[in-house]
Symmetry: C2
Subunit: 379 residues, 2 copies
Amino acid sequence: MIKQRLFTPGPTDVPPEVLIEMAKPIFHHRTQRFKDMFAAVNEGLKKLLFTANDVLTIAGSGTAGMEAAMSCAIPRDKKVLVAQGGKFGERWVKVAKTYGLKVDEVKTEWGTAISPQTVKEKLATGDYGAVVVVYSETSTATACDLKGIAEVVKATDALLIADCITAAGTLPLKVDEWGVDIVASGSQKAFMLPPGLAFVSVSPKAWAQVEKITPPNFYLNLKAYRKSLAANDVPYTPAVTLIRGTQVSLDMIHKIGVEKVWARTALLARALREAMKAQGMSVFSKQPSDSVTGIVYPEGVEDKTFRNKVLRDKWGASVAGGQDFMEGKMFRVSHMGYVDPLDTIGLVAAIEYGLKACNVPVQIGKGVAVAADIIKDWA
Amino acid sequence: MIKQRLFTPGPTDVPPEVLIEMAKPIFHHRTQRFKDMFAAVNEGLKKLLFTANDVLTIAGSGTAGMEAAMSCAIPRDKKVLVAQGGKFGERWVKVAKTYGLKVDEVKTEWGTAISPQTVKEKLATGDYGAVVVVYSETSTATACDLKGIAEVVKATDALLIADCITAAGTLPLKVDEWGVDIVASGSQKAFMLPPGLAFVSVSPKAWAQVEKITPPNFYLNLKAYRKSLAANDVPYTPAVTLIRGTQVSLDMIHKIGVEKVWARTALLARALREAMKAQGMSVFSKQPSDSVTGIVYPEGVEDKTFRNKVLRDKWGASVAGGQDFMEGKMFRVSHMGYVDPLDTIGLVAAIEYGLKACNVPVQIGKGVAVAADIIKDWA
């Protein structure tokens, strides 16, 4: 009789309104009905990203979206700067290398992110055709200064490609105002959907580059999606059910207002961080993302016992573990999408119970009170 | 993006496992398939009530179950004692009068319940053929000593009919061991189902009385249900979808264990009471039921603002108001069925926010910490 709640940084919980919509019978995608629905979804996506750019919807994961962007838009004659401060930065280096691109991997310590200054210095050499950054690096729960980086990149000929998979719809992001050329995101994060869709916005500056490159692939060829999009259509069979859910979830988001959603996410993130600090715990990141919070385990906490046996199985709260060298050393909590104040307050109690079950001396209720006090300002 | 949670003392939240089962296509009820399912449900109901008695399933509300019991089993030649300490006691008086029974309405102050001693004294006169009590009077959030009352009644020829609508599956109840002749309950409470079914257990002693009475009605004629039950069937078209859901919910309950469910409910109730006391609030009942808690509003709290605008619309927590002369003066919270620890901790925060929004000076987090500390012992 325990309710299961996802606090993992993807997948996140899906609202019943969306689940019900997706339970409806399939209809054919080569129809006006599909085009009408897709047109509405495309408008909603643009509004969410504050952009007039094309936003392409690809049946695939966020990785498919990033691969489409990187493989089709990064100039071949210049270097690509890939910021790498975690598992996803690492992945984009691999993608770039797969396509034989000239990669300059700029590493930062886990828990930190590349600075606009570093990007500026690199681009000043004139050697770069594109910059790839991760706005919210999920593995380290760290956000970079995307706005600052965009300001630097847009003054050059280089393209800025941002992995916004756990950032779009949750961290402040104004694509046109900031000048982010390509933004890729995924459905199972702030969009409150199951996994299965990637959303990719492409600026005119990026399209100009895409035009110069012979497509190195077929399914992830951005141009094919752009051509179909002009007729509110898709080149290959779309995931109709997921797109149907997207229409409902976007309506829900826009009813509240995107900027309000950002503020709410930030408040929940702050509540968790402060509650954890009140219990003597430390936040892993030096530049914490409000999408996801990474908390370092105190001495003696066994990760699997804490997360699976206690939090998930006993109290119904699923959180993620650490990755790579932080595996077993931290846990990560999502604040994205369909997670609300009462959930978050309950989660803090579950974390306190988990720590106690792992013999960490905590005063049950101390963190919960701190979280409740911060969340009172939720509007 | 607020999750809606029902803390009302019926309806209560329904688990997704049950909702999914009920979403499956209809099948015909005059089939072996239905009989097999119904047999399993009947076994589950007996196990939940700790009884070898017949448990009848009626498509109707809990009121239908009580009316069936009262109209078919209460001897016409003697008086019926109806304990009345709230809206439901009041209703059973009305039902008894509707059928022309000789009603002795024994009133107790709201927030208290009839004692075994009072029942004993009344029955000593030899004038009574039946006693009707409400185990958990939902309107006043008050429980009577059903075990003590049963001990008194079973020593006589009188029947004990207990409204266990908000008690079965949530308060301790051992029908055979205690000797409760008729128990009526409803699906939308601890059974974790939508409204629409009444469950009525009938003892051999009660059947003997039923046999002596000419049925005064048709649809609610207990004998018709008994006759069909012998063949794992029902006399009139059953609510197949709800019975289907019942099979799943009973399996969930029995997987945990009925007595463990009682203990969990009691813990959540205690957590709420203590959290409220820590905030200077008072519990309405002098004999609080663990199924539902009634909390008296402090001066100046406007009921509809508190419950609807703040708790429900802003924080996603639905609670019930007071009834009759307590309307606008208290609110009531259910601990039955599919409500869990994290829900309850979150609810306490929502109540604190609600009080603050109504200008009651509360220290946000104080009650939440108290609740979290009590709930840590949940097992």
